[in-house]
Symmetry: D2
């Protein structure tokens, strides 16, 4: 495709997240437009389609992937269908940005890693948007320049205001903790070797039987430790805080959410971001813009990824699987992953986790 | 022009600011591309043009404005030529986004206000980018909802790291304080009636004869007061802080610049933004995206402004002129402005300062 | 007096402030106890006296000063009687800690300076307690070590939650701004040369006719400038903030009042100190402990002051007098002070303002 | 003893901590003075004694306890001798403030609890000074008033700048973590049921073989969880941070240590407290003042404790013992404690941990 022509994107799944992406691509991203919209609900597809004049509606997701004037695919469909849709994109040779998770189990994710490696070019990007957040980028840079010394520990808090009553204890790990799992791999640059999920007194805001909050401990290959407080019904707002503690100092991001410091009778303070879209809006924009740019740059035969790839999706899935077993058994569980070396060149080469390139 | 076709923009003046705008429009803004570049320096024009494949170089700025496949003009030329180039845009009926100042004197700005009023549609937007900064937007919203009660005072600090040795004391007002002048009008929603420029002990970092810092007092129509500390050679980084003090509380923005809070031996803290591009990058992007969207929406006969207009440019010029006299006379100077009512419908109608619409 | 024997203190005036001092001396200060209490109201004297078992009540303040087993006097009587009571202490050769102001006019204060100079030893300390506040001490130290470079400006905010409806516009200066006047002299180490009192839109919380808030500009001998926002009916709590802006950086104290940073639904923040006793409790304790220690150290013939002295009380009174004229005339007023050199050794020697020694 | 007479205190052990206490009692505490000093080193005793004119030196600690004009004892001797010295105080019927730990093992501490219970009055206070820190008091109050909702988790960071090379991994628990153990019991008001000591990658600043940092997990009776990062060689300064996360919000203390927020080229921030004396000076002063007041109030037959008592010392010792086993075994260890009900009235009655009364 020509560099001066807009990238034509099919967006599959236009619930909250997918509708956001349609709006983002059509109104804020340079060099791309949405040409196909697909959703299991024809009403929802029509409603979002009405905001995107150039887009045609295609009911079947696999047909949508195959449409000729689609250059790339953005997947915001339900988790359960991610793996097969990503494989269809690979089969069609089309770049895909898949919202997390890449697959609901480690095996499904590994299969994608293998197929992409066989193709010999990187086409699969996974939506771990925190890697594009300016705060996370700065924290990463402090670590990489050695300003903090060798990192020894990380402390994370991840507080969602509220979730659907259907959320179960395992979903807390696969939907929420998965972000800290990827952030740990991104920031520390190594794989996670073991996970322990602890069960503090549950909040009375949580549905009966839901373990909320959870306290998760990760251990990396070289023995660094990460503790994660995760709430899905914190009730307070959306707070994501990460502190890296190194040999020469520590650094924290996400402490004060809110731009304005104000006083009122008796108190000072500010506003907590209500949700993830307000907190990570900039990160989503950067993620999609850089993905679009990477596809323009990669062209018809090069790599089309700028960010976390299929291997990162696989690693996250493997750690989540171990986390769910820890939740069930109350034990520390070691993570079961294939060595990265057995995968060929792409999928994402090298021993280290994928980095934005 | 069609809504689905990219807006074709001529960028006049591609120094630091203009080159930024070229990059912004071509790489981050949806629905626009740069088709013409013009600069007094052919080398600079060629250099920036090389990064913008679709753009042709046109040496003469007035020819550039007139090029047929130019839908709109972004002016980042030297201040002295702004007024005549804006008038040329009006003459051609083309929307223009003019970096501040609109004109170097109040008379020049008033002439633009009158011409635009005669045209009957708003085509002139002025580059007071702070109005698009999320922090300023939030502060404005706190005032407008009445959460702070009636605003009584504002305290501003505006610290530039360093300026060219050619900067003189009057330029401190027209280049730097002008932003607080517009922010005052934007936040408080009324005109400035008087200005006093005080002269504290000059910094030894300032060139001989340069009054740096300055302490400026503004008084609004209803008697609110604003104090402004302005440095052009603060040496520390780029800090812009604004506090509004109301009857029911106060609110401050810009206190902690820097995303990461870190510790190192003996101290905690963070990084100060090095310059205005890092501090206001988001605001510039929003400003240009909303300008582009406004032109798409306005079409060939509607208003093409979303933000501060020609009247705001005139008001700022009038206050700056009074400020320069205060600097010379050491006195409090009342601002000399025509009543807004004598201007016709556009230019920007109504008694209040222009607001983003 | 012996170093191992408790200093016997007469407290004159036991309203809110004096009663606090009685409690402080008897319960938290080492090496002193209250032996005499005097107040114009016999009921109030009896009530406070009941909390201080060792103290006798003496109705007449001059008799109280003269009581034989009184080693030192703490004055918390109404401002109008300060000067004559301080003179009586000097006459009796007894050290005195006088709550501000030292006198209600500059002439009265100057008379005290002269009398003390004749005595040849320093016996008069004035209750500018901010000099003993750890935050002010640290700010002073940053200035004195040169870490901020040459100070060029100061920005102050002084917000009282509410005052008696009898408070008039001049009292805003003599009771509230007087603290910033002393803090300026303490921090910058030079005299104030001119004062301008500006009148922003009054708050609707202020009584009819009361100019509240006020915006005060001080100019020092070397041309540094200080702006002071002062509220006596801010309604929010007690906030005292000071920022010193120097050639190499700035430093601010008093920004976040409140020890705990907390979140609640939608917001983060903390508590604002309700009043001056909570904010400056540590400073009052340190002030009195150091005064007691100074008297133990000074003995019967040495200096008995550790903190601001009579000259500081005089300087503050002179600046306040000019401030009240500025309030009346709407003009900038130069401060009228005798040169310090015409006063003899004590009163407090040297050209610089008194410093804690 | 009479209420108006100074409490006569023997200070045993005048190393850094004990010498501080001598100075504190003689110079800042109302109603007490040091009359006896004892130390294993005659030189050190003489040196500190020289600063305390009224004090006699008594070499033998048990003789020092027995001296007739000693009303109360403050123990700052090495940990190994605490238990027997506290028992001697109980035997002599003299109130004692014992620096932590109360005893080096749980059995020794339990013996003290039993003896005190037999006496029928509370004479033993333990030096967990954090309970007297204004920040901890405010956090406690937020919990007790229900403002945070039910507390579910606590996150602690405890970073010491550096320790003696002789410090071993178990001492990290008994000297440092012991403060978080007491703070957990104080803040949450219940006993700790289990402890797990995890071993992150050690810092290169730590001596060979020292597990530094450690990551400790506490579980309370009702299932709340506390994670504690502890460093003894953090190198950065002294940081103590505690966050309580409740069902309705969270609260954090100790984040910004340092009174002044300053800027310098490129950065903003402040100073980290260099050590525990700067951080907790106010807490030590309050602790000793309240202990002295309690003894004045208790007189010859009442309770002489205002703060953590012998049961708190026992509970801390029991949790530390379990922690050391966890460190050795890499396992989660349940805490072995006698039920509080089997102890009689004193020792400290009731099922809840001792609270300041």
């Amino acid at each position: 495709m020509s560099d001066t022509q807009d990238l034509r994107v099919a967006v599959l799944g236009v619930g909250v997240m997918g509708a956001d992406h349609v709006d983002r691509i059509n109104r804020r991203i340079s060099g791309a437009r949405v040409t196909v919209i697909s959703d299991a609900s024809p009403e929802r597809a029509a409603q979002v389609g009405a905001t995107a004049r150039d887009a045609q509606l295609v009911a079947d997701p696999f047909e949508a992937i195959a449409v000729e004037d689609v250059d790339a695919v953005l997947l915001a469909t339900p988790s359960a269908v991610h793996a097969e849709q990503v494989l269809a994109c690979l089969h069609a040779g089309k770049p895909v940005l898949c919202e997390k998770p890449l697959a609901t189990d480690a095996e499904g994710a590994l299969e994608i890693v293998r197929r992409e490696a066989e193709l010999g070019r990187r086409l699969v990007q996974v939506g771990f948007m925190r890697r594009f957040d300016h705060e996370h980028e700065r924290l990463k840079s402090l670590i990489d320049t050695g300003d903090l010394g060798q990192p020894l520990m990380m402390h994370c808090a991840h507080r969602n205001p509220a979730v659907s009553p259907r959320c179960d204890s395992a979903a807390v790990i696969t939907n929420s903790v998965v972000h800290e799992i990827d952030a740990t791999r991104f920031l520390l640059g190594e794989e996670i070797m073991a996970i322990t999920v602890l069960r503090p007194t549950p909040s009375s805001h949580a549905a009966e039987g839901l373990q909320d909050p959870q306290l998760v401990i990760l251990e990396t290959e070289t023995g660094r430790m990460v503790d994660i407080e995760v709430f899905v019904n914190a009730g307070v707002g959306y707070e994501v805080r990460t502190e890296v503690v190194g040999e020469r100092g520590s650094a924290m991001i996400g402490l004060d959410v809110g731009l304005v410091r104000r006083t009122e009778p008796g108190s000072w303070g500010g506003q907590i971001t209500p949700g993830f879209r307000e907190r990570f809006g900039q990160a989503y924009d950067s993620e999609v813009q850089r993905w679009v740019d990477a596809i323009h740059a990669g062209g018809r035969s090069g790599d089309c990824v700028d960010g976390p790839g299929s291997w990162d999706g696989y690693a996250a899935a493997a750690v989540c699987a171990a986390g769910i077993r820890s939740l069930e058994t109350w034990d520390r569980i070691e993570v079961d992953m294939v060595p990265r070396s057995i995968i060929g060149r792409s999928g994402s080469a090298g021993a280290a986790p994928d980095q934005p390139e």
